[in-house]
Amino acid sequence: MLDLHLYQSLGEALRAALDKWPNEICLIEADRDRENHRLTYAQFRDMALPFARALQDSGFQPGSRAAILMTNQSKWLISAYAIFYCGGILVPIDYKLTAAEQLQILARCKAEVLIVEHHLWRALVQVKDAPQSEVTTALVIEAPADAAMVGAKRWEEFQSPAKPVFATRRLKDPACIVYSSGTGGRPKGCVLTHENYLEQCIALTSLFPFWPGVRYLSILPTNHAIDFMVGFIGPFVCGATVVHLRTLRPEYVREAFSKYKITYVTLVPLVLKNLERGLRERFDALPKTKRRILDWLIDLNRSLTRKKPRLGVSRKLLGSVHKPFGGELRAIFVGGAFTEPATLQFFYDLGIPVGNGYGCTEAGTVITLNDFHPFRADTVGKPLPGVEVSVINADADGIGEIKVRGKTVMSHYLDDPEMTAETIVAGSLMTGDLGRFDSTGHLQLFGRKKNMIVTEEGKNIYPEDVETVFEGLPVKEFCVFAANYLWPARTMVGEKLVIVLRPEEGQPFATAARANLEERNRRLVNYKRIHGYLLWERDFPRTAAMKIKRGVLAEEIRAAMPRTAVASL
């Protein structure tokens, strides 16, 4: 791989990679049984540079911001490289958000350029009363010939033959502004520097190296910090290949493993558990004798891999299990949310190590990672090289808030000095997560201090953000909480939201009101829905400005009612 210590910016490192491996394949883009693109590093460069020059001709300068709103595909990475080549700041926007949410981020980040896939563009232009953005150039990908462009240009036609000018950047300059959900519908823009990314990449590749020939299957959205690092920067600076699938239906994903001989992939816990379920069903369907042999082989593999993974041995012993994964899979990474130890152990025993870890966008993605020496399903691994992690204000059990310090910690939240000051204290990132180190230096997680949940799909949900939909409920007042915030459970599994309802005096919460609550709940996307409700007979404590004192209310509820008082919806 490249020696990343030699470079000052992502643009510089990527440029060196494109020059170093001109004939290696960097990108494969498949759509069902078709292959849309198979690009070498040289072809990638030849597609990116005319685009970069056109950006420069349109007035895009070093320090200018460009947003990308796209599903995973080759043009995402080509556009990103062009932005870095021009010295621009990239703002990846989550394509799974609603159009209104995307427009809100677009307005906040002050991007001048928007690069967007056609179906997402179509949704954006339909939003009424959109907030004012500073976008002067909108470039739409794959717009049909008869599409209404509404002032936008076609990405495919946006190129200039002249050579673009490479813009140098310094380590501390911002590279990306990555938005994660925040309270009160206020997305937080994490400003990550070139140094943040380069240091993170050095640390990750020291544990899990890539090289030419390695194929990474990019499934998590590239706008997410994990895929941006592991499905773009990491493979590219090592001359490896990224495989994109335009449809993520389970059967096409399964097929891709063997078709493209995938080496690494990252999944969210939900998908990993789905894979586990499928394998368990397959095992259960085996005739008794075959099943007994399989169980014996799994036991044998477990004892042979106790100290470290032995891929060659596992593939020989459990060939029938490894074959559907293509036979070349070295590890699955899991990220975005907490994964149950039993699931991790299940795969490890089959000879498929799952690299579980812990991280957040504010810390440049990964903070701790399991290094498999030995594998520990009950922890989230050790701190990455160069990342200092400590537990502060620990209780009698050694559990306290996780604090992170190092070159991977973000610079600040965009235009939010108050939140930055709350989150980065004396140069350390206060994560709001609770953990404990064991005697071998592995970190274990025990829930959160924060009133929020993370779903198995890796979605961060803040209670305040779902409350709007319940405005108008026939109750005196209401408030949404993370159940584990009301009743700390020392776990990060199965996190749920509950709504606390204060009925009007003398008006019991009747069937009609419950139906009303259920109807409103259905308006939310499935992963944001509340799980149950709790009836509360006292007025909520409020500030002078009439804001609910959530912390105080939570304490009152905790003291008066058990978790079992929640009625399921």
Partner: protein, 83 residues
Amino acid sequence: MPTTPTIEQTVEQVLALASAHFKVPRAELSPDDDFFKKLGISSLQVLDLLTRVESHFGIELPDYELQGVSDFRTLAQRIQARL
């Protein structure tokens, strides 16, 4: 020449496919049901249904067409637009 089915027919066919795929009696499903709740499935399992839908109707339905859709009727409308 085959004629395009009406939206009602498409809804009916989607319900029949979901009933067969997830092994839920057809009589228990209605067009406006929230399929996540009714079938007790995840967003991933819904993607499985799309393949059945594609081969049944002979269309290609990009994954994004399912974004924000949680009831059978809306899914049928998305299919109808591509018939």
